[in-house]
């Protein structure tokens, strides 16, 4: 992973940590990423070799993959 991807993983985990009280955390994380991240950032974090994401982020990324 590149340092940019490391940074994106950290950002995604941070988003999930701050949305823990949403009724559906992965959905809220996915929605936040969809609304505020540019397509390349999404593409980078959806790459198969990305590691270090929290379980909520992993589910969110699955939702984004399904929607794309």
């Amino acid at each position: 992973m590149t340092s940019t991807t490391d940074n994106l993983v950290r950002m995604a985990n941070q988003i999930a940590a701050n949305l823990q009280h949403e009724p559906d955390v992965p959905k809220a994380v996915a929605e936040h990423i969809r609304l505020f991240w540019d397509p390349r950032m999404r593409q980078l974090i959806l790459a198969p070799d990305v590691s270090g994401v929290s379980p909520d982020v992993a589910s969110a990324l699955d939702q984004l993959r399904d929607a794309s």
Partner: protein, 947 residues
């Protein structure tokens, strides 16, 4: 307009609804009860002679010049201190009054230097005017003992104090007290020995507590306090009302001119944001506009190693366009982007984002609000439905409890701070939540009831603990919540904040705020009457900046402190047009009016107007652009009016990003730090050289008027238009009013805004539309913009930035009164006498442990980088916390700050950096190499002689 002094009614306007009718010089006049006879006379057009009275100050009654006769009353009362009464019959000009006034005036003049012809105030002197008004033709008294010949105090860089010309009317002392609230001036001595003094007798103006706001100079009726520029240039011959380009208060000024030369900036008494007041920056620090370092000709260079070459505008724009086209063709259109500036006008900002979206063909546009108030946009839109503060500045006059969190208004927003302090001196209670003991915590006649000196990074914990107190102690305004907010969401939130883990006691180890103090502050806010919250970058520039904004909104909703005067949630915006830059669609995910780019209906509106297809995906934010640049996929940027190298966090990363680009276009006044990495420099124009509008922190749209020809040849909107034309876009705006017309067509909250209406009204607060044709001073009056107010659960999530053995202290950064942002403007004025370098504030305990004394050079190191600067040992900061400013590029505080940012918006976490401090004996390696790079990057090759 031709020069006319501002009207002066002698005493302040009364606000009573009751009306009183009286007769003055045979004419009847009706005025509000409480009006002085002097003001009533002025309102009917009769000017009663006066010296100690001016309508920005309470009546004083000392000069004895404004005497009148009133039927049925004995003597000759002073009209300034005599209130009107029904049926009163007043005579302002009688032989008796004439004789008395002439006698008084004769005494004044007998002790005044008669050097009118060579005096700096000749023609603009109230004493001179009044001598004429009372018909003084001769002075019978021979000078025996006088005040003449006293030494002038010329220590202040902007104004002189000549005690020989002083009539001790106390207007300056009262202005410092009533208008500014600093109380730096006093009358020293008694009787004949009375003398105006700044501070104690041994002080001069520069060494005193005077903050150089200029209120005393404005109030002075003689040449005793006079601007150095007036002495140097002469009195002005015309005046143009315009808006200050410094902070988000948005003071309006009369730019007083001789020809195209600015003589002075005088606060406009009719300005609704500043109500006739000013600070040292807006009033005096405009010399940068003519500074010798301004770049006035376009320049290009193929490589950042090369010296700059001056070229024509056509050549510079053609080169810029060809580079942008080349890069787009080579790397794809996503390799381009732009940054708008909160220092530029709404119209200029709108054009830059339009250039990126319609010209570059992507949404890679961002604004410097990214690094300051982007969490405000996110947080207030989520909770209330609008990305803006809820009040006007006048609202503070009705506040009973003022909660200031993460803001230092006496330094950052001084003119509003003066109004706030006025309200506090009248009895409003104050809560300050800040790691530092800011001046507001304790200043003359003001002392915060509660100063919660929290650990940096724990805002959310403190606010949640306050909410815990309010909910569990039954202090919620349930009627308001049930009527105005989503009840289910409220209950979820109330249940969350009520958990034991969110009590002040449970969170005290984290926040370092004594639980009892925190509970008392919460009770005061909830039960003390109208509660208003004011906040600044100490809220937003954190990893939980957006959460903190929402936690503030939660508190305001739970206590019913929204929707009327005296209450509300008020972000104090850093730069002059932060609000406007955000309104204009500068963020990569939304179009003007905060409508998401993915909304097809909104996009269609813009597509029809602009004749292009818009991308539906959000673009890159500033930090993402820099990441993409270091990854090799982002190659070109157009930056208008921003200096990201100095202002953005982690300087090494910013530099790496800029260096990786093939085309950096900087459009600015000076070769700033970002320009060290630029290939094209387009000279900018100052706010004095352009037309447009700024929108201040209270959503007030105000005109910026051109008072002189742009030294660089073009207003900034014209430069952006020329760049667009060079790229092939068919833009043909003839005036910024046409850009505003386009904004109004496309943006519902601006629908009723036009330059004509702004000229008529002076200013308008958005939304201005069919339902609010005259604007909206207070928001959410009958309901929230989003419908029901939304409570959001804001759990405290500690930042990833942690202290430890290597970096045991927490650094927080900020600004001071005399400097502004990266200092590009203020460093090029005489304001440097107050702040010639950035200093590190450190607590005595931490200093002693490290063997550091005030004035010592110290090394400030973090995980991101290190720099050196001098220390000042002070108890303003708590043990474990250090503080510095970021105004000077060779200190470059942002070498030390990190990439950590707000979870929702990527607003950098400037306020929390783990650092270590140690003694140092010289600059760091980085500082030395940066100084070389800076010198190298500013070389300008001499133009070849024409054949």
């Amino acid at each position: 307009m031709t020069y006319q002094p501002q009207s002066d009614f002698g005493t302040p306007a009364a606000t009573s609804d009751a009306q009183i009718t009286l007769t003055i010089d045979g004419r009847t006049v009706t005025v509000p009860a409480g009006t002085s006879v002097m003001r009533a006379a002025a309102e009917q057009g009769t000017s009663i002679p006066k010296l100690c009275a001016t309508d920005s100050l309470s009546a004083f009654g000392s000069c004895r010049l404004c005497l009148v006769e009133i039927d049925g009353r004995r003597g000759t009362p002073a009209s300034c201190t005599t209130p009107v009464e029904p049926g009163m019959v007043v005579h302002t000009q009688t032989p008796r009054l004439q004789k008395l006034r002439k006698g008084v005036m004769e005494l004044y003049i007998s002790d005044h230097p008669l050097d009118c012809l060579t005096c700096g105030a000749n023609g603009d002197c109230e004493l001179q005017d009044q001598a004429g008004a009372v018909g003084l033709r001769d002075v019978r008294y021979q000078p025996v003992e006088t005040h003449l010949g006293q030494a002038k105090d010329q220590s202040n860089p902007y104004f002189d104090f000549d005690p020989s010309k002083c009539i001790v009317c106390s207007r300056c002392v009262r202005a410092c007290d009533e208008v500014q609230g600093t109380l730096a001036l006093t009358v020293q001595g008694r009787g004949f020995g009375s003398k105006i003094s700044a501070g104690i007798a041994s002080d001069n103006f520069l060494g005193s507590e005077c903050v150089s706001c200029g209120a005393c100079v404005q109030a002075c009726p003689t040449a005793t306090l006079i601007e150095k520029k007036v002495v140097e240039i002469g009195t002005p011959e015309r005046a143009v009302v315009t808006t200050c380009a410094y902070c988000g208060v948005g003071c309006t000024f009369r730019a007083e001119m001789r020809g195209e030369q600015l003589v002075r900036m005088v606060p406009w008494k009719e300005g609704k944001a500043n109500r006739g007041h000013s600070c040292v920056k807006g009033r005096f620090a405009w010399g940068y506009a003519q500074h010798q370092e301004r770049i006035l000709k376009p320049m290009i260079r193929r490589s950042i190693q090369d010296p700059w070459q001056e070229v024509s505008w056509d050549d510079a724009l053609a080169y810029a366009a060809s580079e942008l086209k080349r890069i787009s063709a080579t790397y794809g259109k996503q390799a381009l982007g732009g940054i708008t500036s909160s220092r530029c006008t709404n119209e200029e900002t709108f054009l830059v984002q339009k250039l990126v979206r319609a010209g570059f063909g992507n949404n890679n546009v961002d604004t410097c609000a990214r690094v300051c108030h982007s969490p405000t946009g996110y947080g207030l839109k989520t909770t209330f439905g609008t990305s803006a503060g809820t009040q006007d500045f006048d609202s503070v006059e009705d506040s009973d409890v003022i909660l200031v969190i993460g803001a230092n208004p006496t330094d950052g927003h001084p003119v509003f701070a003066s109004r706030m302090k006025r309200r506090l001196r009248k009895g409003a209670k104050l809560i300050v939540i800040d790691p530092r003991r800011t001046d507001l915590v304790r200043s003359p006649h003001i002392e915060a009831q509660h100063h919660l000196a929290l650990q940096p990074g724990t805002n959310v914990a403190v606010l949640t603990a306050m909410a815990h107190t309010i909910v569990t102690e039954g202090l919620v305004n349930e009627a308001f919540v049930k009527e105005r907010c989503d009840w289910d969401e409220y209950q979820d939130w109330a249940s969350f904040v009520s958990e034991d883990r969110n009590s002040p006691e449970a969170l005290e180890p984290v926040t370092k705020v004594p639980a009892a103090d925190l509970r008392a502050a919460a009770r005061l806010y909830a039960t003390g009457g109208n509660g208003a919250i004011y906040y600044g970058l100490g809220v937003t520039e954190h990893s939980q900046g957006s959460s903190t904004v929402m936690a503030i909104a939660n508190l305001a909703m739970a206590t019913g402190n929204i929707g009327r005067r005296g209450v509300g949630v008020n972000p104090l915006r850093g730069q002059n047009n932060v609000q406007g830059a955000c309104d204009m669609g500068s963020f990569p995910h939304e179009l003007a009016g905060y409508r998401h780019i993915s909304d097809a209906a909104t996009r269609a509106l813009f597509e029809r107007e602009w004749g292009v297809q818009l991308e539906s995906e959000p673009g890159l934010r500033i930090p993402n652009m820099l990441d993409a640049a270091t990854d090799g996929v982002f190659k070109a940027i157009y930056i208008q009016g921003e200096d990201i190298l100095q202002s953005d966090p982690n300087t090494h990363h910013v530099a790496a990003g800029l260096e990786a680009m093939e085309c950096v276009i900087v459009h600015d006044l000076f070769l700033n730090e970002t320009a060290n990495y630029a290939h094209i420099f387009l000279p900018g124009s100052t706010f004095l050289e352009k037309n447009g509008t700024f929108t201040n922190a209270e959503r007030r749209i105000q005109p910026v008027r051109k008072v002189m020809t742009p030294l660089n040849g073009y207003e900034d909107w014209e430069v952006t238009q020329k760049l667009a034309q060079a790229l092939g876009l068919d833009w043909n705006y003839a005036h910024p009013s046409e850009i505003m017309d386009e904004i109004a067509r496309l943006t519902p909250s601006f629908a009723g805004v036009s330059f004509d209406r702004l000229d008529q009204e002076g200013s308008l607060q958005w939304p201005v539309n069919e339902s609010a044709p005259d604007g909206s001073p207070i928001m959410h009056v009958d309901g929230f913009v989003r419908g029901k107010g939304k409570f959001v659960v804001t759990d405290y999530v500690p930042t990833d930035e942690r202290t430890g053995p290597r970096y045991p202290l927490l650094l927080t950064t900020g600004r001071i009164l005399s400097q502004y942002n990266v200092g590009a403007q203020t460093r090029r004025t005489d304001n440097v006498v107050w702040h010639e370098e950035d200093l590190l504030e450190i607590h005595p305990v931490d200093a002693e442990n490290r063997g550091i004394k005030s004035g010592d050079w110290v090394r400030l190191a973090s995980r991101a980088g290190e720099t050196t600067l001098r220390a000042t040992v002070t108890e303003r900061v708590a043990p474990g916390v250090v503080y510095t400013t970021f105004h000077h590029p060779l200190t470059q505080a942002n070498v030390v700050t990190t990439d950590y940012s707000d979870w929702a918006t990527n607003c950098p976490e400037y306020k929390v950096t783990a650092v270590q401090i140690s003694p140092s004996n010289g600059p760091t390696e980085w500082q030395e190499s940066y100084a070389k790079l800076q010198n190298n990057a500013r070389r300008i090759a001499k133009a070849e002689a024409a054949e």
